[in-house]
């Protein structure tokens, strides 16, 4: 590789991934003080001062965090169980290929599908009615647009866990964990000990950055909570879109402010999480 190339590559990469988002953030910041955006009315701290009285953003953030936490926990658990518990099947046969199938579904299609499957007049409800399990519409459990966000979590897990399983499997192969497995067995460790002491920490450590990304992606999910969630509490993206697209243009600065706060908050969260990952890395 020529000497200059990496620098050039990194430089333009920096311009793209740092420059553009920061420019966007700066635009949001300027918008929140009335200096940018349509109908910008000149410098004002009004919207920042009003932030203190607005609990809806905090509520949306907490709800999103709860959903993202549940999704991450369930997906990692399922993916690890698959990769560590069914390693033999993953190496032979069609199981690995099968895991690619859910990745083909865009989030909106997943949301539409689960709505048609799980709502109280959906396919499962119809089948259960025909089977005599439920009598009236209301007898069927509330699985979408429910208070706890079951529908959202289910949809996100269905999309996330196969991806994580594929990732873990790739790391498993690339790190030659199988060789280690043989080695630890020769040294007298049990299969369970190998999984817990060797494979699990290594997989989690190497996948940590991607896990973080997937958690952040869930935090910012839009289509799924829009179709399967409730208008209150809302997840962050739905909340932000609602504010950005309100019928009142005069509310835009408050929306820019909310966007700035969310992006800033996520950034701090990312940096903190990365620091933690770093501390536990090799």
């Amino acid at each position: 590789m020529p000497f200059r190339l990496p620098k050039l590559l990194l430089g333009s990469y920096g311009l793209l991934v740092v420059g553009l988002p920061l420019a966007g953030l700066a635009y949001a910041l300027l918008g929140s003080v009335g200096l940018a955006g349509p109908l910008a009315a000149g410098c004002t701290g009004r919207y920042w001062l009003a932030l203190g009285h607005d609990t809806s953003l905090l509520y949306a953030a907490l709800y999103s965090a709860a959903v993202a936490g549940a999704v991450l926990l369930l997906s990692v658990g399922l993916a690890l169980a698959l990769v560590l518990g069914a390693q033999a099947s993953l190496r032979r046969g069609p199981l690995l290929g099968l895991l690619y199938v859910p990745l083909l579904m865009p989030t909106l299609v997943m949301a539409f599908y689960l709505f048609q499957l799980l709502s109280r007049a959906g396919w499962l409800a119809r089948v259960s009615y025909q089977a005599g399990l439920t009598g009236r519409l209301e007898d069927f459990p509330e699985l979408v647009q429910d208070a706890a966000g079951v529908g959202i979590v289910l949809a996100q897990v269905l999309l996330t866990f196969p991806f994580l399983a594929l990732l873990f499997q790739a790391i498993y192969q690339e790190s030659r964990l199988d060789d280690y497995y043989q080695l630890t067995r020769t040294l007298g460790a049990s299969a369970g000990q190998f999984r817990r002491r060797v494979a699990l920490p290594l997989l989690l450590r190497r996948a940590a950055p991607t896990l973080l990304l997937s958690a952040v992606a869930t935090l910012g999910a839009y289509d799924i909570p829009l179709l399967l969630g409730r208008p209150y509490p809302q997840m962050l993206s739905v909340y932000l879109t609602t504010r950005l697209q309100r019928f009142d243009l005069r509310e835009l600065p408050a929306a820019y402010l909310a966007g700035f706060v969310v992006a800033g908050g996520l950034l701090v969260l990312l940096v903190l999480a990365l620091r933690t990952i770093r501390r536990h890395a090799l």
């Binding site: 590789m1 990496p6 620098k7 990194l10 990469y13 920096g14 793209l16 991934v17 740092v18 553009l20 988002p21 420019a23 966007g24 949001a28 069914a86 033999a88 099947s89 069609p94 199981l95 690995l96 290929g97 099968l98 690619y100 199938v101 990745l103 083909l104 865009p106 909106l108 299609v109 539409f112 599908y113 048609q116 499957l117 007049a121 119809r126 089948v127 009615y129 025909q130 991806f163 790739a170 790391i171 192969q173 690339e174 190497r206 950055p209 991607t210 990304l213 992606a217 910012g220 839009y222 993206s237 932000l240 950005l244 992006a263 800033g264 996520l266 950034l267 990312l270 940096v271 990365l274």
Partner: protein
């Protein structure tokens, strides 16, 4: 036995969507409490594939755009990950790579649009490409970052010591070694671009009419058969691609 049960469960779980979508696509007047459609019709299929839409051209555009994004992001990510691994500022570059994800996509599109307009890229493929790479490139870089461990560097150095040119070391040692991660990166970045509606539609002011942009409008609408046909249209090309690339994607590690 246990493995068959697992396979069966996952197969059912993953293929029910296709069955239900197919039923919805051809079912007519299907509502509670009928377990199966009372009548079947191809009206929705005809409605979406009928005259006036340029789905075929859209399919081509989508494939081209998503393919470009996948290749550029994966190749770029591979090189960038290496450059980052060797940089004195590796930590900072890694943190920087997360920056685009601090903005939820719906927010990102709105906030970078003014800059895309000023760069004279609004309404063009270039603007869309830039927006998609903003999402895909750091993703691939971070995913592939885990490849450039000390071990990989040692393999590379070993290969060079044994007389490989840098190109040979890349082709014959590093790429095969990184292949499981590379294929994941390729596949994921392809899908990321393939399924994108928000960024593409906002940054191109609706003018880059990919297949997704054309059919997405129907997916969330009231007409369930049409939404189902549209969903299947989006699913089938990548499914086909997956089928064709099955051998490549699932190649056993040496």
């Amino acid at each position: 036995m246990r493995s068959n049960l697992l396979l069966g469960t996952l197969a059912v779980l993953f293929f029910v969507p296709f069955v239900l979508l197919a039923l919805l696509a051809v079912g007519e007047g299907w509502r509670f409490p009928a377990a199966l459609p009372p009548a079947y019709s191809l009206a929705a299929v005809r409605g979406l594939l009928g005259p006036g839409t340029d789905l075929l051209a859209g399919l081509g555009r989508s494939l081209l755009l998503a393919g470009t994004v996948a290749v550029v992001a994966t190749a770029g990510g591979f090189g960038l990950a290496r450059a980052i691994a060797r940089s004195a500022w590796a930590r900072h570059w890694e943190v920087a790579s997360y920056l685009p994800y601090a903005l939820p996509p719906v927010l990102l599109a709105v906030l970078i649009q003014p800059f895309i307009i000023r760069l004279h890229l609004s309404g063009s493929v270039g603007g869309v490409l830039l927006g998609l790479l903003l999402m895909a490139l750091p993703f691939a870089t971070l995913l592939l970052r885990s490849f450039w461990t000390r071990q990989a560097t040692e393999y590379e150095q070993l290969a060079r010591t044994l007389g490989c040119t840098p190109g040979q070391a890349l082709r014959q040692v590093l790429l095969p070694l990184a292949w499981p991660l590379l294929r994941t990166a390729l596949f994921q970045t392809f899908l990321l671009a393939w399924f994108d509606f928000g960024l593409t539609n906002v940054l191109s002011v609706g003018k880059v009419r990919t297949l997704t942009v054309q059919v997405f409008a129907y997916v969330g609408e009231a007409n369930a058969p049409l939404a189902a046909v549209a969903s299947l249209l989006l699913l089938l090309p990548p499914a086909l691609l997956l089928r064709l690339n099955r051998a490549a994607l699932l190649r056993k590690n040496p």
